[in-house]
């Protein structure tokens, strides 16, 4: 035997790591003070954070909650002694106390506030089975499907037959599809299932709804779209655009990959056109141009027009994000699904899309967040979203000159929504991880 021979007879036991590598000390050493350069950076950052907070916090904690006007706020601050070299220092929160309901609901009649509030609560019930499949019974998905119709009825009011007749359009489409797919084949069935409901909505839905409501009048007080405003408007537009743009984006992304030349060119043309045009242009089209193309006398609701435009805009971006996810999937996944005999739609639904969407989650949620923030652009076409309202509030002589408090409050609310979406996406990504744990 040579002297390099070695045979291990027992396996060494695991040892605990050294103390300096664990606990708070270990964490601080590794993350804050690893080397002299990082230590200096840590100290400098702490100094910057301290100086920023020490000038902002006194401004934020200002005793002006009961101020009735900007002048009144200044008196309160002077009395409290918060006077700096440029006059009083401190926020004037009275404007938020006085106008926060308006920032939330716009000019929605105050005796009907329960309707948007109830809708908002129901929104979370409806989202439950979609967002938290682990904790919420899946039967609730029925409610999620009905929610859009309930929400529209609660928000705008009017006869209950309007949403029911609109819902009937989908039922008719489904019925036509079921019947036609056995009688005429899949493609004809899809075309018919899209055409028949549209004809129903355009020509029959109105008369049928008014006929039914004259027989059984069952209605809520109608609220006009121009009275919508504040965060209620942002959430209405944002949530609708988010929910509608995802399926539309999936269809566009699949269409763009299609072998059928016409389908493919239509999808590519749509995506490239919408992405090549600023959202504001589309909103102007919605608010002014669209009426020119409509037959005279039709009253096409402004919020509905904006909803369609924002949804189309978001869908084009969504399609490209999802195409990225599709491109990242190995070809073997398509072949695996094909070799088992799954047809195109089954393969897409069961194998391809779940994976492509999972890969695209960060991009999808970024698009969602972008869409939600873009809803503030509607203030340009005179819809009173929170930003539009902030201008209206400043027009009041009492609050003329208020800037930071309003924008800060609006920013905070937007942040809450966008940050929640971002956190949710991270939760979802973790949940869908299927590698080694």
């Amino acid at each position: 035997m040579s002297d390099i021979a070695f045979v291990r007879t027992e396996i060494l036991p695991q040892k605990a790591p050294p103390v300096a590598a664990t606990g708070f000390i270990g964490w601080a050493r590794e993350n804050l003070f690893s080397g002299w350069f990082n230590s200096i950076l840590t100290v400098l950052s702490l100094a910057v954070i301290f100086s920023v907070l020490s000038s902002i916090l006194p401004w934020v904690f200002s005793p002006t909650w009961n101020g009735t006007s900007l002048a009144n706020c200044r008196e309160i601050l002077t009395a409290a002694g918060s006077v700096g070299e440029h006059g009083t220092t401190g926020a004037c929160w009275g404007v938020i106390r006085e106008r926060w309901l308006q920032l939330m609901f716009g000019f929605y009649p105050s005796e009907l506030y329960w309707r948007p509030i109830l809708t908002f609560v129901m929104l979370f019930v409806a989202l439950g089975p979609i967002l938290f499949t682990d904790f919420v019974p899946s039967k609730l998905i029925w409610f999620s499907g009905l929610f859009p119709f309930i929400a529209a009825w609660l928000l705008w009011g009017g006869s209950i037959w309007n949403p029911l007749v609109a819902l009937a359009g989908f039922a008719i489409g489904f019925g036509v599809f079921r019947y036609a797919s056995t009688a005429l084949g899949a493609l004809a069935a899809i075309i018919l299932a899209a055409l028949v409901p549209i004809l129903w909505w355009v020509f029959l839905a109105g008369p049928v709804a008014s006929g039914l409501s004259s027989v059984i009048p069952l209605e809520l007080e109608t609220v006009q779209s121009r009275n919508f405003g504040g965060f209620m408007l942002s959430i209405t537009i944002g949530v609708t655009a988010i929910i509608c743009s995802l399926p539309l984006g999936i269809i566009l992304a699949l269409g763009r990959q299609s072998d059928l030349l016409i389908v493919k060119s239509l999808c590519v043309g749509f995506i490239e056109f919408i992405r090549g045009v600023p959202l504001i242009t589309l909103l102007f089209v919605a608010s002014t141009l669209l009426n020119i193309f409509m037959p005279p006398g039709t009253n096409f609701d402004i919020i509905l027009r904006v909803l369609i435009m924002v949804t189309l805009f978001a869908a084009a971006y969504m399609a490209e994000v999802i195409r990225g996810g599709l491109a990242a999937l190995p070809k073997g996944q398509y072949e695996g699904a094909d070799s088992l005999g799954l047809d195109y739609w089954q393969a897409q639904r069961l194998v391809i899309m779940p994976q492509a969407l999972k890969i695209s989650i960060p991009g999808i949620v970024s698009t969602f967040i972008g869409v939600f923030k873009d809803t503030t652009l509607v203030s340009i076409i005179a819809l009173l979203d929170p930003l539009g309202l902030s201008n209206a509030i400043r027009a009041d002589a009492n609050w003329n000159g208020i800037v930071w408090e309003l924008y800060g409050f609006i920013a905070l609310l937007f942040f809450v929504f966008c940050f929640s979406m971002s956190r949710y996406s991270m939760y979802l990504e973790r949940k869908l991880t299927t590698d080694h744990h």
């Binding site: 073997g332 070799s339 005999g341 194998v351 994976q355």
Partner: protein, 263 residues
Amino acid sequence: MSDLALDRDIDRSKMQVSDEVAIEITNMNKWYGTFHVLRDINLTVNRGERIVIAGPSGSGKSTLIRCINRLEEHQQGKIVVDGTELTSDLKNIDKIRSEVGMCFQHFNLFPHLTILENLTLAPIWVRKTPKKEAIETAMYFLEKVKIPEQADKYPGMLSGGQQQRVAIARSLCMKPRIMLFDEPTSALDPEMIKEVLDTMIELAEEGMTMLCVTHEMGFARQVANRVIFMDQGQIVEQNEPEEFFNNPKSERTKLFLSQILGH
């Protein structure tokens, strides 16, 4: 690849080749763009045959078996599988695919589904089997490939050999009459090749019609009833394994065999 010796006796009692034709390929040609990948392929496979297709890389052997379930489209000639001709008719294609199982070099398991869901997916959606029955079948085949305890894990948590066995079980759940193997052991560590080959041998012992593209010459020698050698998109030589290995006729085959068995 080495001439891997298989350390088991093979039960040949059920390895019967019948007269019934399972696959018939006549004058089939295929091009990738202008490149002529498959040239005038004529091949008849009877039920119960175990065919190994060998050849240098780029010789078109994978393309050939991928044409049989139309993962690749042929441009000329005729392929008839189980009496159904492969045309661009999607119904026929899906029917053939659900009756012809396939295993890939990279397994192609669905990483977002558990092992059990991978196995029950196609039976439930394509065969419309009730879920309970599909799970029973899936567990039966998982037992068969000896990994029932992994049923609730995800593919990413399994070793390569285990994943390939799951992939075989996934194909078997569709009760296929023909199995295609596209280099099933090429992406595996040597330690894991044997467990996959064992599974394939068991399949052969039950009389399954098999077409394998593989470099495992030990498997070819002991299990196959016919070895096909392809080069430059053509079938150059085919024979019984004994003859093929001991007494190759064409120069090309001799060269190939000397290269893969020579060391």
